[in-house]
């Protein structure tokens, strides 16, 4: 917002310039980073981030949705942070505890975390281990409307050793907890003194953090304004003001990016149908980022049609994934085989690649004894190779894809009928209790970017069979169970990688779902904003707003 360029300068643009008149220009250096802006001078300029949902939850521990994360990452710090490459690095802590450095005991149950001694809350009070203890205890307070409690529920005996050190015991070794802590923002104990109900604490409406930006004000229904925290302990901030602007409609979201009212597009970014036009906009920079969510066709393995691996392989071979991506999704998504996103350290790169081949599909089915019967539909032992496919109704792109898949399957003697339903019905018991035949569903498999997928593939996670979890395709594989149980008890990333590499291979081989593609987020920003970097290990584009700055 500080620098206006040639984009149709409006009267309103002129008004904007008046506001920015005091700001001086930053000189870019040849490396693309303004050396002096990084080290000298007061933060300046303002970035307006446009969001299609309104952030409304400002206590980062309370139940929330993705859109709230941008504000939380800017206001608060967690003990650790994920880099875009998938590495966990210290944030409020001074080092990442491992078994090698003694931060985690040999049996994985005793944790010791050391904290920075130079961190202050936005109100000037010092940050100490007491705040961390308070945070971890508040999450499991039964009266508090906490967000995820997974992992936190294992924590016992939190002991403050000194203002910069604390220890706790885990009821059982649970290595994913480290990544969960990268999403657990620490809040100040003193803000809750004398507060009877933490759910309605004044803090929740005017939060105090340790982050690069301080709370300024919220205009409900419109925006949240943050200002630079000059005393920030980490890199930055270089911006004087960070604004999260709510734009309720996705078309208008893009229009305001075109008009220059928004400097940087937040969720849901640029939709694929606007991609071509966005490329032609002057002074805008676009960037593709693989989304953590994978678009799949989930198969219900308890249905007689899908019991045989040959059938699942044939279905996969019969679908022309690239044609779907190009013809329906404007070529934006990337074809995938893995459930682990590419941004993860645990991504296994050598899975066999999908090959579109109706001939192979026919051969597989012929060989397995599925003979063409009435109407050209294959049958075996009285079971017709016919099933329903469901997803959220009203999602036009998915509906087109369903019809496409329907035609492709018909060519190999498979009948697929489409039966869509409203979101709340589709993803209620119908999905959770595995009442579907097949479903088109986008799934984020990793929780907090940890590779543990017990929730999705362990046999005890089948809700329809009395378990607890989201193994909705009902896969039961003894080797997967064994690997998953081992994986959460091991802390060394390299050792864990070997385990989860094998899980990825088995899942790809077993095909409990047909992996189609990973959506790509199309980020857009004014070209003069530097320091922006998408991070697939967080849920927000604004995870590092502290590093953003304007050049001209």
């Amino acid at each position: 917002m500080t620098k206006k360029t040639s984009i149709t300068l409006t009267r309103r643009g002129a008004l904007g310039l008046v506001g920015a008149a005091g700001a001086t220009l930053m000189a870019p250096n040849l490396l693309g980073k303004p050396a002096f802006a990084q080290t000298e001078g007061a933060p300046e300029g303002r970035v307006i981030v446009g969001l299609v949902q309104e952030p409304t939850v400002f206590n980062p521990l309370m139940v929330k949705i993705e859109v709230d994360d941008g504000v939380h990452f800017s206001l608060f710090d967690a003990l650790f942070r994920f880099t875009p490459e998938g590495e966990v690095v210290p944030n409020l802590a001074t080092e990442v505890p491992t078994q090698a450095n003694g931060g985690i005991s040999e049996d994985g149950t005793e944790w010791r975390v050391k904290l920075r001694d130079d961190v202050k809350w936005h109100d000037g009070k010092p940050f100490t281990a007491e705040d961390v203890k308070f945070t971890l205890e508040l999450i499991v307070n039964p009266d508090f409307r906490a967000w995820r409690t997974a992992g936190h529920a294992f924590v016992r005996d939190i002991t403050v050793v000194s203002p910069t050190e604390l220890t706790w015991r885990m009821e059982e070794p649970f290595s994913p907890y480290l990544s969960f802590l990268t999403e657990t923002f620490i809040i100040p104990k003193h803000a809750f003194e004398g507060v009877e109900d933490p759910n309605s604490a004044p803090f929740n409406q005017s939060p105090i953090g340790t982050g690069a930006f301080k709370w300024d004000r919220r205009l409900a229904g419109d925006r949240v304004e943050l200002v630079a925290n000059a005393d920030y302990h980490g890199e930055g901030p270089y911006l004087e003001q960070l604004v999260f602007k709510y734009i309720p409609d996705i078309t208008v979201h893009f229009t305001q990016f075109r008009s220059g009212d928004i400097d940087l597009l937040g969720r849901m970014y640029i939709t694929p149908d606007n991609y071509e036009e966005a490329k032609t906009l002057p002074d805008r920079t676009l960037m593709l980022q693989p989304a953590p969510s994978i678009e799949t066709i989930a198969l219900n393995l308890e249905r007689p049609q899908f019991k045989e691996l040959a059938v699942r392989e044939a279905l996969y071979a019969a679908i022309d994934k690239q044609a779907i991506i190009d013809a329906i999704y404007y070529g934006v998504p990337s074809s995938v085989e893995n459930y682990v996103p590419r941004s993860s350290y645990y991504y296994y790169a050598d899975l066999p690649l999908h090959e579109y081949s109706p001939d192979k599909a026919n051969a597989l089915l012929d060989e397995a004894g599925w003979k063409r019967g009435a109407g050209g539909i294959r049958e075996k032992d009285g079971v017709r190779l016919s099933f329903k496919n469901s997803t959220t109704s009203g999602n036009h792109l998915r509906e087109q894809m369903q019809q496409f898949v329907q035609q492709m399957l018909q060519q190999v003697g498979v009948e697929m009928t489409i039966e869509n339903m409203p979101a709340a019905v589709m993803w209620g018991d119908f999905w959770m209790q595995s009442r579907f035949d097949t479903a088109v569903v986008g799934i984020t498999f990793l929780i907090g970017s940890d590779p543990d997928v017990t929730n999705r593939f362990h046999s005890k996670a089948i809700t329809a069979q009395g378990g607890s979890g989201s193994n909705n395709w009902q896969i039961k594989n003894a080797r997967i169970d064994e690997l998953l149980e081992k994986g959460t008890r091991i802390f060394d990333p390299a050792e864990r990688k070997a385990i989860y590499d094998e899980v990825q291979q088995i899942v790809r081989h077993e095909l409990p779902y047909l992996p189609l593609f990973a959506e790509n987020y199309i980020h857009g920003r004014k070209s003069e904003i530097e320091g922006f970097e998408p991070n697939g290990n967080t849920r927000t584009e604004s995870w590092n707003a502290a590093s953003w700055y304007w050049v001209s």
Partner: protein, 316 residues
């Protein structure tokens, strides 16, 4: 007058109870509920969702939930928003000003223009003006506001650059002039439909009066045409319009769903849509009760005003 008022109040109270029961029931019939937005979060376990349900009191039987809500309501407690944890009255308070500004300016425009078009259409019946106004009103009524809003943004904001592409004001520039500049386009778009409706009603009302005997009498005794029009015709034609204005009163505060969305106007219409999509029951119920109360109030005020300006009508 007093017995009339008491009677009206009593009726209104019963009506509000009925409205609230129907609203509450329908709201709870919508599949999903306030927790469904968290259900697909991979890290939220079934136990987490159960715990939240318990904490928010959503696991109680519906009639109990309703009675609890109604009892608090009677004591002036409108409840607390699920979505941002603030009291409902505060949530509404944060949005009402934006809507009032937008609807107020739009209504002022549409009543002024609509009345003029209506009267002129009636006095110059079957003229080119009348035909144009009639066709124009039909077109205006059938244009989807959403489309019209987007097109006007495209033309006047993106291409011509005369007006901003939405928002209530430019961030960093909160001058009165800035507000006005942002207000023009959305209030004109919103006025389009209202002008059409208002002008049609006004034309009909004027035509009803214009051929009546007292108008002829006035003309016959030599009253000047302008005076006939202003005092005898318009004065009487405005009577039914008072009722119409009363019925539009709730709109003044309940907002415009579509226009507020297209122009990213942080008003009550947006609040309603958002609260509905998040199943934020307390806020939706609060908005429902507010607009029900305003509707009843608007009608009451219209009745009283009509009885005051028209001595033939008595409230009983």
């Amino acid at each position: 007058m007093l017995p009339f008022l008491l009677n009206r109040l009593w009726q209104s109270f019963i009506l509000l109870i009925i409205v609230s029961i129907i609203g509450f029931t329908i709201l709870n019939l919508i599949p999903g509920g306030p927790l469904s937005q968290y259900a697909l979060d991979p890290g939220m376990t079934a136990a987490d969702l159960e715990r939240l349900k318990e904490q928010m009191g959503l696991n109680r039987p519906l009639p109990i939930q309703y009675l609890d809500w109604a009892w608090r309501m009677l004591h002036g407690d409108w409840g607390t928003s699920y979505r941002d944890g603030a009291p409902v009255t505060e949530v509404i308070g944060r949005h009402i000003f934006a809507t009032f500004i937008l609807m107020g300016s739009s209504m002022a425009i549409s009543i002024a223009i609509g009345t003029w078009i209506g009267i002129r259409g009636a006095t110059h019946r079957y003229s080119l003006f009348d035909y144009t106004a009639t066709v124009g009103a039909m077109v205006a009524l059938s244009i989807p506001t959403f489309w019209f809003g987007l097109v006007s943004i495209y033309i006047f904001a993106l291409k011509l650059g005369w007006f901003p592409a939405g928002n209530m004001y430019t961030i960093g520039d909160e001058t009165v002039l800035g507000y006005l500049h942002h207000l023009i386009l959305p209030s004109l778009v919103l006025s389009l439909v209202h002008v059409a409706v208002w002008s049609r009603y006004m034309r009909t009302a004027t035509l009803d009066v214009i051929h009546q005997d007292f108008v002829k009498t006035a003309r016959a005794k030599g009253v000047r045409e302008k005076r006939v029009l202003m005092k005898h015709v318009v004065g009487n034609a405005l009577l039914p319009m008072i009722t119409l204005a009363g019925m539009q009163l709730p709109q003044l505060l309940s907002g415009a769903l579509v226009t507020e969305t297209v122009f990213t106007w942080p008003g009550m219409g947006r609040l309603f849509l958002d609260s509905l999509s998040y199943s934020d029951y307390p806020v939706v119920m609060g908005l429902l009760m507010l607009s029900a109360i305003l509707t009843l109030l608007g009608n009451l005020i219209a009745d009283i005003v009509v009885s005051m300006v028209d001595p033939r009508i008595r409230l009983a």
